[in-house]
Point group: C2
Chain length 382, copies 2
Amino acid sequence: MRETAVPMGAPMRNAVIDFSRMTVSAVAVVTDAVRGGEPVVGFGFNANGRYAQGALIRERLAPRVLETPEEHASADGSSLDPRAIRRLMMLNEKPGGHGERAVAVAALDIAVWDAAAKLRDMPLWAMLAEHAGNPAPERSVPVYAAGGYYDPEKGAEGLVAEMQGYLDRGYVQVKMKIGGATLDEDRARIEAVLDLLDGDGARLAVDANGRFDRETALAYAEAMGAYGLAWYEEPGDPLDFSLNAAVAAACPAPIATGENLLSLQDARNLLRFGGMRPGTDFVQFDPALAYGLGETVDIVAMMKEEGWSPRRFLPHGGNLAALACAGGLSLGGCESYPDVFQPFGGFADDTPVEDGRVGLSDAPGAGFERKATLHALLQDLL
Amino acid sequence: MRETAVPMGAPMRNAVIDFSRMTVSAVAVVTDAVRGGEPVVGFGFNANGRYAQGALIRERLAPRVLETPEEHASADGSSLDPRAIRRLMMLNEKPGGHGERAVAVAALDIAVWDAAAKLRDMPLWAMLAEHAGNPAPERSVPVYAAGGYYDPEKGAEGLVAEMQGYLDRGYVQVKMKIGGATLDEDRARIEAVLDLLDGDGARLAVDANGRFDRETALAYAEAMGAYGLAWYEEPGDPLDFSLNAAVAAACPAPIATGENLLSLQDARNLLRFGGMRPGTDFVQFDPALAYGLGETVDIVAMMKEEGWSPRRFLPHGGNLAALACAGGLSLGGCESYPDVFQPFGGFADDTPVEDGRVGLSDAPGAGFERKATLHALLQDLL
């Protein structure tokens, strides 16, 4: 297990944080299996927003896994057992308090799943579908372009030009930030983008990044509802379920939230106590922040138990691991950051966005090797 | 800001974890104020159960604080402003996902408060009382002795001898682990201890450490209720509010939980959604795990808003920082680990437990200097 911290190299900011100081953990799991003269290697990384977790991986997770190699293999001995390895990672960890640990486990877990799928010579999305008992995984997934960060030099013209660029690259639906300006200023920004989208609010989502107090969240709810937007994302603190319920009750537009709930337990509490409407709202848990792929499979099963369709799940993050979940577990779509969080964000070089959808390739594993800039970075771990 | 990771040196285990591999971050904040020829220094550490957080402190928290020294001072310039410094620590941090970050902030925040109180030449408990607007802080606090860990070589006789030792040292109420054995075995252990306590269930609490599924938690609820115990602690996953509510509804004895909820937001959700009974149950949030002392003041204010008395708050952890909160904020008492988690656990050498209570000294700050073994360890940071 090898890891390194990589700067995000993203110069923009949302309503809450400055990404220029953000880091990501890139991880490689080198197996003792050899194919074509090379060891089979799995890669992983955490998604944007929560910093690299190298010390946690080196000091806690990796030693626990490496201490009992006899527990790594799948039942038939031909691959790895990601569930068993995840269990080893979490030895001597207390329940509750799901934060950086969930992020560290996610990076390592994705690498283990990537290696396991490669050992079985199957795509990650197919292995996830098999694991979840999903008979009809998707071979292409709706994606939307997330951007629209605040930039004092950009202005409304720059914002519209950015969104035009996404449309030019095949996206149909876009998302922009709100809450870094006054409601009136945000209205002007939203209306400028709506003009570009022929006034079709369903093609535009807005994201407050958990910034608003109750009064502001409700004021925006009314305004966003009037535009008929695709969704209004993270109005208030992501754990303030009462505030979320009040906003959902007041907002004709769908609410979307969940990227900052980093465990199955937190996700379930959102559905039970957050006032979320199963036929209207969206959840956005992030496989690359919230304990990885096995946890995401469990979250989808929990959603069904709570009366939710997996189609209401649009994972945060915009990377190949999230895309494999979206396809393999038949989620409703996947976020995409066309311009930022590179090289971790984005999909395979040979699956461009077309009509707002991205195809899932037949490459073994997550397909990180099919994205040249990402592959080059990950290869440096070896 | 200086920090080091220290092994817990605690060879026992509860129903979930093995403490022999656990570490703690010890922190010193060295101010530029000089008293008696020596710089004024504040000390802090995180409580047991969540590992040292050195990398997080070094890479994220400390640089943000040290970058803007002009924001450290209190309004009159005579001391530090712990709230302002806490705000600097959290720059560029997203909301939600409260885990290791809360633990790291707690250790550093306690050191800042300790330094601030020393600069004002007042005890920490008095500064907390002033900050919270509490006109009548407590000068002595009820404490209970937590122990009763599983040990295959100890048996019921060893367990009773351990509890007898606590009574000999002035404790009146004790707590033991459950859930590491069958219910029948735990019944035998409980009944052995109850014999020692003259059959007075109100002097015995039991702690499952979040281990049980719903069925087991409910089976224990019935059994624990029949003993009339002081409380039944952490029956199930600390974030499974529905399970907690089901157990509270079924258990005549009080429920106690909260040590694994590491933020104000999580604490509030427990009170709103966990089925906790304001006149019956107890909450156990840990100042040295959950963002420190300002957050604890905010949690107490939140409790009042939600209709709870601070007397229902018995902080987890058993150290001088928790004791200062219990006294300064007039909480219901404080945990104590007489035999383990040394030298961080326990109170000042000159305030022994008497009739189940511990006095708060007039020493400036948290009084870590009044506990010789702890002071010796902390001095090594300088």
